[in-house]
């Protein structure tokens, strides 16, 4: 611990973390797809028909050429039973049918599927926007041109901090340079580019320093989000922010946003970047209300796993939030009738617990990102990664800290168990 709250890791501790070999158990362990069971579909309701999954985020394969040490899905090898080309094209048709406007393909790395351009072309041909989020390591000029020819609209390349930090987080030396090369390749192919960054204890002190290289790469849009305790991120919990780190993070972001803007970069705060502090307008002033509106899973977003499993958000755990599988049930039925996808449509303040149940903003925020809190405590509704909450704690001389008490089992989208410690500020 240092005296600089933006650098919660001391130099020695940081060096030790950077140098540490990856935990053996965080290598891809998936050999066989676990048998899935889903809750029965509920009766159709008129109210559910008002929701359209405007944005679909679709893991088209779990095969990956990076080995990110925070990867929630523990990507590496393909799942044993990923959707075929024909199944993917049919799924695209069904997505268009339920109102999806944009399909963001993710992985693993989508370009490691031989038919990835077929999927892109199908998305475009069905009148939806094809986008992708990628680490970019294998996005060669040829692949970028193939994607552009197929109709890829825009691509967000993940860049996490400095070269040293990025390569360590992404698990492959050279991946930082590869990501910037991918941006060049995409731009030269005529695809719009953006970037996204994980915020954790390794990257937080480096974010201001990222503005120059991103500006030099002519980035115009930069999405930021907190690293969440899922998958491999559970294996190295000391890299995760602590809830009280938001007391330093948000003032820094309030400085970062105008600095980036001065270089032509719009910073877009992801749904889990804390809530309702004095810098809310700086962070989310461009949203239509100017403040966070709670979780969109199952309301405006839908997530798909490579085997056809459907969730309200791609990040939610497979075990807890799968609503059905496209191989067994039409997408429209899952979207409208799965209790798991209806969760945020029906959630009220009564579903909140802990601090969030009594919060001034409970009715608007409803504990923010479902994923962030669910993976910590095994149920959503109490999210300690909140700036307002950290400020209120600080007023009382207190802070909150998370402690891992149970490791994750080692499956894609798995979770461990954390305890929340409330303690006096040292």
């Amino acid at each position: 611990m240092t005296n600089d709250p933006l650098r919660p890791l001391g130099d020695d501790e940081r060096s030790a973390i950077l140098a540490r070999p990856r935990p053996a158990r965080s290598l891809p362990l998936l050999e066989q797809q676990p048998k899935r069971r889903y809750l029965p579909l509920a009766e159709a309701r008129d109210s559910d028909r008002q929701y359209e999954p405007l944005l679909c985020v679709w893991e088209v394969t779990l095969r990956c050429d990076l080995a990110c040490r925070h990867c929630g899905s523990r990507a590496g090898h393909a799942r044993p039973d990923e959707l075929s080309t024909e199944e993917c094209v049919e799924l695209v048709r069904q997505l268009a049918g339920i109102g999806t406007r944009e399909v963001a393909i993710i992985g693993g790395e989508p370009y490691l599927r031989d038919d990835w351009t077929t999927i892109i072309r199908a998305i475009k041909d069905h009148g939806m926007r094809a986008t992708m989020t990628t680490g970019g390591r294998g996005l060669t000029p040829e692949r970028a041109r193939e994607a552009a020819d197929a109709g890829m609209w825009a691509v967000s390349v993940s860049i996490d901090g400095s070269r040293e930090t990025h390569d360590r987080l992404r698990g492959v030396k050279g991946s930082y340079d590869a990501a910037f090369a991918a941006l060049t390749n995409l731009r030269e192919a005529g695809i719009h580019v953006a970037t996204n960054t994980q915020i954790n204890r390794l990257t937080m002190p480096e974010m201001i320093g990222m503005v120059e290289p991103l500006s030099a790469a002519r980035i115009r849009s930069w999405q930021i989000q907190l690293t969440v305790a899922m998958g491999r991120a559970v294996d190295e919990p000391e890299v995760l922010l602590q809830p009280y780190d938001l007391l330093a993070l948000h003032p820094m972001l309030a400085e970062l946003v105008p600095l980036a803007k001065s270089k032509g970069i719009d910073v877009v705060a992801g749904n889990n970047v804390g809530y309702f502090g004095p810098h809310e307008t700086a962070l989310r002033g461009r949203t239509r209300t100017g403040y966070p509106g709670g979780c969109g899973a199952g309301r405006i977003t839908i997530g798909i796993e490579a085997d056809g499993t459907i969730k309200g958000c791609p990040s939610l755990t497979t075990s807890g939030w799968s609503g059905g599988n496209i191989r067994e049930t039409p997408l429209k039925e899952i979207w409208e009738r799965s209790p798991k996808l209806r969760y945020t449509r029906d959630r009220t303040v009564k579903d909140l617990w802990g601090y969030c149940a009594t919060c001034y903003y409970a009715d608007e925020c409803r504990a923010g990102c479902t994923w962030t809190s669910d993976v910590l405590f095994g149920k959503p509704g109490n999210n300690p990664f909140c700036h307002h909450r950290a400020l209120e704690m600080k007023k009382k001389g207190m802070r909150e800290r998370i402690v891992r008490v149970e490791e994750a089992p080692g499956l894609p989208f798995d979770q461990g168990k954390f305890e929340l410690i409330e303690e006096a500020i040292p």
Binding site: N196, F276, R288, I300, P314, K332
Partner: protein, 109 residues
């Protein structure tokens, strides 16, 4: 909108407040308002189509208080997701590059 920033401390406060609960500044209560209209003229059709979907739901469906929340979108109509698809539609349209997506033509599946 049901919240607005306190003019003094910039914390969001409920529209009915007469004083900021965080800094004590006196404020005038406001009525709840809809999210500001998206600027349609000169913008991409996707902006209009998306905003309309967010504001109204489907044509024949009854209104519901639990309609998708406009705060999940930027003023340019872009959905903000964890995985970060790039929100550049407004800028891209202004450059005259974009063709709007086709309107959807009924359910399927």
């Amino acid at each position: 909108m049901r919240l607005h920033p306190c003019p003094e401390c910039h914390r969001h406060i409920k529209n009915q407040e007469t004083a900021c609960p965080f800094c004590g500044t006196s404020v005038t209560p406001r009525e709840e308002t809809l999210a500001p209209a998206v600027r349609v003229a000169g913008r991409a059709a996707i902006v209009f189509a998306t905003a309309a979907a967010m504001a109204c739901g489907k044509k024949d469906a009854p209104p519901t208080p639990a309609a998708p929340d406009a705060a999940d979108m930027t003023s340019s109509g872009t959905v903000v997701a964890v995985y970060g698809p790039p929100p550049q539609w407004e800028e891209i349209h202004e450059a005259g590059i974009v063709e709007p997506p086709k309107p959807r033509d009924g359910g399927s599946g």
